[in-house]
Symmetry: C2
DNA sequence: CTCGGAACTTGCGTGGTACGCATGTTTGCG
DNA sequence: CGCAAACATGCGTACCACGCAAGTTCCGAG
C-alpha cells in the first residue's frame, strides 16, 4: 500500500538522485519478479531470488513491496495509471470518449522499460505468462491495481467534465466501464482463438459501453 | 482456489449429509472470520482464533480456505454468485436488463445466514466494516470474488441470448458493466454523505450503463 | 567544502501462514 | 454390517512480512 503510493509519486516527480535510484530499484525488482515468475512459476520463485537478481537484500525487497504478488502487479499498475494520466493530461477540448479511446490504445504500446527485455526462451514466454495470470494470488493483486487506477481515472474524468470527483455517479460509472472494456478486450485477445487485433477490438468495446448495451 | 470451486458446487447441489456438513462448516468459518475481523481488525485475528470460534482445528481451517482473506471474501463470493444464478434461473421471457436489475436488487436482501447475526456492539459494526474493506489484502480478494462471479454472469447472459459464452464480446461486456455498476453503487452508498438509497441508486446506475454513457 | 541530519539499506529476530504427509475417525453405500 | 472413500487432525517444514537497531549514503545549509 505504501509502496503503491510512493511509486505513483515517483512516476510524476522524481527530482533528486535519491528518488531516481529508488524508482530504478523498484522497477528492477518488479521486472525481475515478473521474469522469474514467468520462467519458473510463481511458487518456485522465492523472495530471496528476486532480491538476489537485482542485487539487494531480501529485507530491502520488503521495503519496496509488501508481498510477492505486489511486486509482480506493480508494472501492471504503472501501465493502468498511465491511462488515467493520459486522459487527465490530454488536450482539454478533445471529446471525452476520444480521449479515453486514445489513452486506452496508448496502453498497448510497450513502456520504456522493454529495452531490458531478457527473455532467454521467447517461445516459452506466452505459456509462462498465461500460467502467471492463472495464479489466484496474482489475479487478486492485479485486480486491485486496476481498481486503484480506476479511482484515478474517475478523478480525471470528473476534472474534465467539471464535477465533484467524490460523489459523482457518472464519473465513476464511466471509469469503471472503461476499465471493464479494457479488461474484457485484453482477456479476449489473450485467449487462444481470437483473431481480431486489439487495435480494433478495444475501440469497438469502448464504443459499445459508451453508446449503450441494449439487448441485441 | 479449490475452496472456491468446491463451494460453488455446494451452493447448488448438496445432497448427502456429508456435503451439508461441509457447507455448514465453511459458512461458519467464513462468518466467524468476518465477525472477528470487524470486531478486532484484520491483523489482530489469527487463523487459530477463527478455527477456535467454530470448533475445528487450525489445520482444518486451511482445508477449507487457503488464506485468511479468502475466508472473509467467501460470503461476498456467495452473494455475487447468487446474482448470476438469479439471472440464469429467472423467467426466460423476461427482458435481459429487467432480469439483471431484479437480480441485482435481490442481492441487497440479507442472505439466509443472518439469523446467526451476533454483533455484540451493533453501533461499532459500521466502523469495523469500513476498516475491513480498507485492508489491501481484503480488497484484492473481494475483487477476485467479483471476477469469478462476473464469469458466471457472462455465461448466464450468453445462455439467455443464445450466444457462445466463450468468445462473445457482448456477453462479457454486459457482465463486466453490470458488476461495475453494482460496485460503484455500493461504494457510493457506503461512503458517508450519500443519501440516496440503494433501491433507487442501483437501478439508476444499471440504466445508465444499459443505455450508454455519452458526455453530458 | 564540509558537516549534520534525513533517508535508505541491511541483518537479525519474531510471529504467523500455508501446506505436505501420515494417522485416526466419520460417512455413505453395497 | 463392513469396507472404501472422504474428512479431520497433529506434526513438521519452508516461507513470508515486518519491527527494531545499526551502519551507510545522500542532500543541502552554512
Amino acid at each position: 500500500m505504501f509502496a503503491y503510493h510512493a511509486s505513483s509519486a515517483n512516476v510524476y516527480g522524481m527530482s533528486g538522485l535519491r528518488e531516481q535510484k529508488k524508482a530504478a530499484t523498484r522497477t528492477a525488482l518488479s521486472w525481475a519478479a515478473v521474469r522469474l515468475t514467468v520462467e519458473r512459476g510463481f511458487s518456485a520463485v522465492k523472495v530471496e531470488d528476486i532480491a538476489a537478481a537485482v542485487g539487494v537484500s531480501p529485507r530491502t525487497y520488503n521495503n519496496y513491496f509488501s508481498s510477492k504478488a505486489e511486486a509482480i502487479a506493480f508494472r501492471h499498475l504503472e501501465r493502468s495509471l498511465r491511462l488515467a494520466a493520459e486522459v487527465r493530461d490530454g488536450p482539454p477540448d478533445e471529446p471525452l470518449w476520444e480521449a479515453i479511446t486514445r489513452a486506452s490504445l496508448r496502453q498497448l504500446e510497450p513502456g520504456p522499460e522493454v529495452e531490458h527485455m531478457p527473455p532467454q526462451q521467447p517461445d516459452e514466454w506466452p505459456a509462462g505468462r498465461q500460467a502467471m495470470w492463472a495464479e489466484p494470488a496474482l489475479q487478486a493483486e492485479l485486480l486491485r491495481a486496476n481498481k486503484i487506477a480506476e479511482k484515478e481515472l474517475a478523478a480525471a474524468i470528473a476534472d474534465r467534465t467539471g464535477r465533484d470527483p467524490e460523489f459523482d455517479l457518472y464519473s465513476r460509472l464511466v471509469a469503471a466501464s472503461v476499465m471493464a472494456a479494457n479488461n474484457v478486450a485484453l482477456e479476449l485477445s489473450v485467449e487462444a482463438g481470437q483473431t481480431e487485433p486489439m487495435e480494433s477490438l478495444l475501440p469497438r468495446a469502448l464504443r459499445m459501453v459508451a453508446t449503450g448495451l441494449p439487448t441485441p
